[in-house]
Symmetry: C2
Subunit: 483 residues, 2 copies
């Protein structure tokens, strides 16, 4: 155990370095250094892969598994180590390189294609990635090919399970969104009018981050074109956002990233470099960001708490806005075409569309050229609207261009988990919503640290909330939108 921990210490250093190279590239690096940086990132990537697939490491694992008196915790530890080893070992480095090259090219073409609505130039690159990912799926033994890609992001779920969950969720959401539409209270709402001075947006974001529990001794908030959160080292969590003078999206985006950062910060540092100091899965990670962004940040209590701050920072925009109307502004529910601009009520329908298409690609042989048509049909059916062009359709997300298939479902699985955590928290600490209204968030954080953060990968989402269903989440939404 000691030997393994010391071997993986180096792994954690290499991951740190990779994170810093990446963070810097997205936030600070002068643009002309991109090729220099790509070479260095690929060098470190190679070092990481070599380190955790080395014969030396394989020997250490074997030695450890041969030990007689393994505790229950040791057995979980070993299982997780082996999972990672097998996953990394299964992928030939030529394949990883081919994928890196193809996704770099596709991302480049995608960015242009999105700007110019030029689907044609992008489709062959998308097909190339689909082919590579189809091949990747064959390196793993899974029931269905798509399962192989899902497990890279969440090993607790198969496409069969997700299809069942998402189908139930879709029905629930369609019913609920029709009711909310009829009711009208969350529909006919004017957005707050800008401008929102950037410096004030930043000050407000920093204030909320600190109140949620992210210490400025151990974090930074910067600007990047897509908000993200990254662990540079256990005591160094960095988040980014983007500011738009006329929209106040930075606040919820920051709350989202703070949720990720709090998880990483509170992982048990004595297990540095090992699975026990890693998140259970991307879905559980996402449950944390969604918890702070939506369940806390879009609650009635939070609107009440933040109301005076908002008045102070943006007196003109907040003229005549009560705390109750602010709550409804935060939860305005109108279906839209763009996933990242979507409200809580419709968000998961965007994800379900992407999931269903991925499932068709990998389990049923759908190809790139046929996606746009299906995309439109599904938007028409689930959201009642159709993209006018591909930039508002299949070209809106960067994920597929980056080779990330099997990733989208974790967003909705994260929402489902956050819903179940909400119900659990309400039972354990019924006062928590009143505390939010007073700006007290420490009980929430303690609950999440004790149940999730401090456990690393020694638990599963199943341990956390029982077998995952859709009812908790649907109940949470009903409470909010019909309450």
């Amino acid at each position: 155990m000691k030997k393994i921990k010391s071997y993986l210490q180096e792994y954690s250093y290499l991951k740190s370095i990779q994170s810093l190279l990446h963070w810097d590239m997205e936030t600070m690096m002068p643009s002309g250094a991109i090729e220099d940086r790509a070479k260095r990132l690929s060098y470190v990537q190679g070092k990481i892969h070599a380190h955790i697939t080395s014969p030396e490491y394989s020997k250490l694992l074997k030695e450890f598994s041969r030990k007689k008196k393994l505790s229950a915790s040791d057995k979980i530890f070993l299982k997780e180590l082996k999972w990672d080893y097998d996953l990394n070992y299964a992928l030939p480095s030529e394949h990883v390189e081919a994928l890196t090259m193809a996704s770099a090219r596709a991302s480049h073409v995608w960015a242009k294609a999105k700007d110019t609505n030029d689907l044609k130039s992008y489709l062959p690159h998308l097909q190339k990635l689909i082919d590579l990912k189809r091949r990747e799926a064959t390196y793993f033994k899974t029931k269905k090919p798509y399962d192989a890609l899902i497990q890279l992001h969440d090993k607790e779920f198969s496409s069969t399970q997700i299809s069942k969950l998402f189908s139930e969720l879709k029905n629930g959401l369609l019913t609920l969104s029709n009711q909310v539409k009829e009711d009208g209270r969350f529909v006919n709402i004017k957005d707050l009018k800008g401008p929102f001075p950037i410096e004030d947006q930043r000050a407000l974001s920093l204030r909320v981050a600190k109140l949620f529990g992210l210490s400025d001794q151990h974090s930074r908030l910067d600007i990047s074109s897509h908000p993200f959160s990254i662990n540079i080292s256990p005591l160094d969590q960095r988040i980014t956002t983007r500011y738009d003078l006329n929209h106040l999206d930075s606040l919820s985006s920051t709350m989202h990233e703070v949720g990720h950062a709090l998880y990483e910060f509170n992982l048990p540092s004595e297990w540095e470099g090992t699975p026990f100091q890693e998140a259970v899965s991307l879905s559980v990670h996402e449950s944390q960001s969604r918890f702070w962004e939506n369940i806390v940040g879009r609650s009635k209590g939070f609107a009440e708490f933040i109301h005076p701050d908002m008045k102070k920072f943006f007196p003109k925009s907040m003229k005549g806005i009560t705390s109750d109307s602010l709550f409804r502004v935060f939860n305005k529910s109108v279906p839209g075409l763009i996933r990242v601009e979507s409200c809580e009520l419709y968000y998961n329908l965007h994800i379900i569309i992407r999931y269903e298409i991925e499932e068709m690609i990998f389990n049923q042989g759908l190809n790139a050229k046929d996606i746009p048509k299906i995309w439109k049909e599904k938007y028409k059916e689930y959201l009642g609207i159709v993209p006018k062009n591909d930039s508002q359709g299949i070209l809106q997300d960067s994920h597929w261009a980056g080779g990330a298939f099997g990733y989208f479902p974790t967003y909705t699985l994260g929402n489902l988990i956050s819903g179940s955590l909400y119900m659990k928290l309400k039972k354990e600490r019924p006062q928590f919503e009143k505390q939010i209204a007073k700006g007290e968030f420490s009980d929430i954080l303690k609950f999440l640290v004790r149940n999730i953060h401090s456990k690393g990968r020694s638990i599963t989402a199943n341990d956390l909330v029982g077998e995952l269903g859709v009812q908790d989440y649907l109940n949470y939404l009903s409470e909010k939108f019909k309450g």
Copy 2:
């Protein structure tokens, strides 16, 4: 050759990573991450050392040296590779670790001691470092012990040579500074009065950096407590400065760092990771920063050029200031106690004092406890002033606390080289001072790129300007202050 270049490519990647970890620590890192970062820096440091002292590398060098048809350039290349290998190989890793620990501790104590003027707490740490550096000198075969430490920063010079140069320089400077004092034109000058808004200081710095030739596609300007310049990768040069609302030091500090950055940027990238893509020596590096900061940035032509900009940015401060009086403001010459605040005329006397003390420590056995007395005597003798306390004396610089002995002389050697380059440039391009007044700096940069930057370590300072003397530099100063 191919094998060596490919082996050293990895060396360059590791150096990149080290630079980024360091830059980030000084400019961006949240304070609570310092211990995490120290571990990662020390990990990378170890990797670098292991990489360039490995048996594999030693074998490659031997193979290369056994080749029959080595060109003249190949021979220089091999000589430089061997120099580095021997230098790194000579230092036992236990010694390097002991030194790292001792200097980390000493730096920590020094920072407090400087703030509280508490010399007593610092002296034992300084003595410990002196002892370690005395031991370090024994790992190398040099005529005098101090030479071993000097060669770590500049291998072209010995203490015998430097003592001779500095003694001539000291006499020249003492004569010249007495004349300047009597003349009075550069003495009775009022500093510009602030405030100088930080944003305007930054804008002015960036404008000058760009005009000097540092592309914003390949550089950044940030803030740190001590200004520095660092090569993250060939196409990614970063400089830092600090801003004081009431003093305009940021401009000359930026010009200084731009000089370093231009050198690094223009090193031949086809030799990445090898000595041919490295600076000749720290002295020549310093000649570049001093060239842009002083010879260009404190010239009459530059005062003429920057005058309208200064009026635009700082109208109140510049009221009644002509371009000629701005030139004299830039060159105000009064002896002071603090090295980093010193004007060009007195700066080298500060360095000579430190050099003479280091020479006494390593060649003559002077110990820490006896330095403060000698410090005061020398300041009295050379500058006519005596520090009132140790914070203004021996405690003012961080170098010794960081274990950097043999480093100070490169500052003055750099000045001497810059003086000789100035004379060479005047001969080659007599128009260059008139061009400065018009804001045209490209001919200067071309001259430096052709003669220095593009050569890497394939030349020496001696190749550049002939045997180094003090006369060119003294003539340059006389021209300015007596012209």
